[in-house]
């Protein structure tokens, strides 16, 4: 169980931290120019952080106690391929979800 004191420190700390991240550029930097090297790194934040976050969950899902799982791996692959081909976020999500549920259903038969 999570300690109540720790929980509130995290909620408030994370609230302030997240807000600062969002306000830093929009509020404080405003129209002032940023160094080119920083902008160059920031351009790749999303494409680096998000796949790094989900990769272990795709390969070793917690729901299967870390056992590699064909429906989840297939769903991840379909989501990625449909997203790459269509550039459409919702189409990618629905294809991935359909693959996941379809294969889980097949495997349960």
């Amino acid at each position: 169980m999570i300690d109540t004191g720790t929980l509130w420190i995290v909620i408030i700390g994370l609230g302030i931290g997240s807000y600062t991240l969002r306000f830093a550029f929009l509020g404080i930097v405003g129209d002032r120019p940023m160094p080119a090297w920083l902008l160059r790194h920031l351009r790749y934040t999303a494409v680096a952080m998000l796949p790094a976050l989900v990769a272990p969950q795709v390969v070793w899902p917690a729901a299967t106690d870390g056992q590699a799982d064909l429906p989840r791996m297939s769903a991840a692959l379909v989501t990625l391929v449909v997203g790459l081909l269509t550039k459409n976020v919702l189409a990618a999500i629905f294809s991935g979800a359909a693959t996941l549920f379809g294969m889980l259903w097949l495997f349960a038969l």
Binding site: V10, L14, S18, G27, H41, L42, Q57, A92
Partner: protein, 244 residues
């Protein structure tokens, strides 16, 4: 530059365009927020704590990360650092929105900062680039429009998830809503070789460092991925210059 888009957009029409563009994301936001409520309840949080978490932090991925690490009894500093690392991308969103809405009054930018999330950012940047003739108040109206359907359901679904809690059967496989959503958001962003290199380096590093405690592997993987992307961009531009 010729444009086929209507020149006569008003603040109201900008708002409703945003509303229409944001509404489909409910299909993602509702299960995502519910999942947070469910997992928070399983971790021992009550409804008030769960709602406060969602309202104060307002960043799904960071919330999941913090929750996971707290359950592993990670030191508070590590919880905060890892969750903020996961959320570093919003700093980039903020930087990227600045040229478009940086001229808005400070109080509006202060509110927009809180609401800078994947959906509002992704929709807004596409819209602002498609209709560069939009005025700053129209852009703010559009941004507000995208969020209008999403925000109430973000809060409400967190509460709903906390209330139904462990009643959600495992067969719904809600655990995989997060990976699917993130992969779907990332795939269209892989526009250049540098983006693909950044993602590949980050994925390989995160798998190799998966055993590193407290998700520190994520910070290593993310940093190396960003450096690889930035470096690849420089090299590719240099090669292009040489060929030209």
């Amino acid at each position: 530059m010729p444009s086929t888009t209507p020149k006569t957009r008003t603040r109201a029409s900008a708002y409703w365009k945003g509303f229409a563009d944001g509404a489909p994301f409910l299909l993602v936001v509702i299960p995502f927020a519910m999942l947070f409520g469910v997992l928070a309840t399983e971790a021992g949080l009550n409804v008030l704590e769960t709602l406060s978490f969602s309202a104060v932090v307002f960043a799904g991925a960071a919330q999941f990360t913090a929750l996971q690490l707290m359950q592993e009894n990670a030191p508070t500093v590590i919880v905060l650092a890892s969750a903020l690392a996961v959320n570093l991308r919003v700093a980039m969103y903020s930087a990227s929105l600045t040229p478009w809405i940086g001229a808005a009054p400070l109080w509006q930018r202060a509110i927009a900062a809180y609401f800078t999330v994947d959906q509002s950012y992704a929709c807004s940047v596409v819209q602002f680039e498609n209709e560069p003739q939009m005025t700053v108040p129209q852009r703010m109206a559009y941004f507000t429009g995208v969020l209008s359907p999403i925000v109430p359901f973000w809060y409400a679904s967190s509460i709903l998830g906390a209330l139904v809690g462990t009643q959600v059967p495992d067969s719904w496989a809600l655990d995989f809503a997060l990976p699917i959503t993130f992969l779907a958001l990332v795939a269209p962003m892989l526009r250049t070789a540098a983006h693909v290199i950044a993602a590949l380096v980050a994925i390989i590093t995160s798998l190799l460092t998966a055993a590193v405690p407290y998700s520190l592997g994520l910070m290593i993987a993310g940093t190396l991925g960003m450096m690889a992307g930035a470096q690849a961009e420089v090299l590719l531009e240099r090669r292009k210059l040489r060929h030209d």
